[in-house]
């Protein structure tokens, strides 16, 4: 832990501050109930009362999958970047090999139209 103990303390403080803000607004703000006011906002027409459960196109799923792949790649790259200078050419070629393997997949997705949004 050591280094990171302050984070928990400050995290608690953030919670405290947000709670204070909510309490303050509770003290100052008016509160009048009316049935219409608490309806879901819908530009002046009757809102759908059922939960919003519309489906979304597969594109979002594909993008999320691609993101995962690239994010893991970045996780590999960060420690490598810190020591790349010390290790020298071995580090460079090792990472270049890894990147080529990944870029083949990227090129495949691009070619198949996975990145085209329509």
């Amino acid at each position: 832990m050591g280094d990171f103990t302050p984070l928990f303390i400050y995290g608690g403080l953030v919670l405290f501050v947000t709670c204070v803000m909510l309490v303050m607004t509770g003290l100052f703000a008016p509160f009048r109930t009316s049935e219409v006011k608490f309806q879901t906002y819908e530009s002046g027409v009757q809102a759908e009362t059922a939960l919003f459960q519309k489906r979304f196109p597969l594109k979002h799923y594909l993008v999320a999958l691609l993101f995962l792949v690239f994010d893991i790649e970045v996780v590999f790259l960060y420690p490598w970047a810190v020591v790349a200078k010390e290790i020298g050419s071995f580090a460079f070629f090792e990472m270049a090999f890894f990147m080529v393997a990944l870029l083949v997949g990227f090129a495949y997705v691009w070619r198949k139209g996975g990145l085209t949004w329509d």
């Binding site: 302050p6 303390i9 995290g11 999320a64 949004w117």
Partner: protein, 318 residues
């Protein structure tokens, strides 16, 4: 006794951070209104204080007095937690930003990773707000926000790898000290441009403000929020602007390095200049479509960032 001192120190730092965040957000709102006014040949706020300086203070106080409307159809847990979660990372990130050689609260050796780890939480709060509101506009805004931040997180992370390779550390102070002579923007101009565009998208600023595109989906993910909960989203958005500009300053513009003026002044000057650029861009470019946004992220910025990485690797190896 020791315990008391530590408590006092923590309390003081917390007061400084929270005070700075509040004043910064109020100043940025005022600045944005003034900049937009000047660009559109208007005056902007003029009534409260000198050139409307205290207009945003008045607005903030007004927000405390506004009724908190909690719709009946919401999903309670995500709806109520989202504004708090939006505040959470922005304040915690402030702890590690060094505005002078010895002016920081925490000095972590993984500073860069720490900042990205926490700023990635921002999109979670957007999604929770949109999902919890149970409103079609909020949900559309949330889904757009997620897709957008997934697309722009990667060029953002890839673009700064070049800087890290040059100086060989993730410590923010170490990175600034490596720029004593030459700012990294000269070594890595392409990376700076990619970083800047990606941060615009990460902070949901125009022309990438699709999650809250007010002319299409009301107010996007915060349609159902009012009063102080809305203020929390606003506060975190403007603090996020400061954070990404501070990060760009640290990574590319030499941090607090500069002649004559004291260190914090240089740092804040650079940060506010970058924020001014963000505002300028907002009032110059129209909002782009979601397909253009995804194309820019996946097909242009990511390959460019990889090329930049490759070139940096080759140059460092030679």
């Amino acid at each position: 006794m020791d315990m008391l001192l530590v408590m006092l120190k923590i309390g003081m730092y917390a007061a400084i951070v929270i005070g700075f965040i509040t004043v910064n957000a109020l100043f940025l709102v005022w600045m944005e209104r003034k900049v937009s006014a000047k660009i559109q040949l208007r005056h902007g706020p003029m009534e409260v204080g000198w050139h409307g300086t205290f207009q945003t203070f008045a607005d903030a106080i007004k927000l405390f007095g506004k009724e908190l409307i909690t719709p009946v159809n919401i999903d309670k847990v995500p709806y109520l937690l989202a504004p708090m979660l939006a505040m959470f990372p922005t304040i915690l990130i402030f702890l590690v930003i060094p505005i002078g050689e010895n002016l920081h609260i925490l000095d972590l050796n993984v500073g860069v990773l720490y900042i990205f780890a926490f700023s990635a939480l921002g999109v979670l709060s957007i999604f929770m707000a949109g999902y919890g509101s149970n409103n079609k506009y909020s949900m559309l805004g949330a889904v757009r926000g997620v897709a957008q931040s997934l697309a722009y997180e990667i060029p953002l992370l890839l673009s700064i790898l070049g800087v890290i390779m040059i100086c060989g550390t993730l410590n923010l102070k170490g990175i600034v000290m490596a720029q004593d002579n030459v700012w990294f923007v000269l070594y890595q101009p392409l990376a700076f441009v990619i970083f800047f565009i990606s941060t615009l998208a990460e902070t949901n600023r125009a022309p990438f403000d699709l999650p809250e595109a007010e002319s299409e989906i009301i107010a996007g993910f915060h349609t159902e929020y009012s009063g102080i909960r809305f203020a929390m989203f606003f506060l975190s958005e403007y603090t996020h602007m400061f954070i990404v500009s501070a990060l760009a300053t640290i990574l590319f513009l030499g941090g607090w390095n500069g002649p004559f003026l004291p260190e914090p002044v240089w740092f804040l000057l650079k940060v506010y200049f970058l924020i001014f650029m963000m505002m300028w861009i907002r009032f110059t470019f129209p909002r782009i479509r979601i397909d253009q946004l995804m194309t820019l992220g996946w097909k242009i910025l990511i390959p460019l960032a990889l090329v930049n990485l490759l070139v940096t690797g080759i140059v460092l190896k030679l």
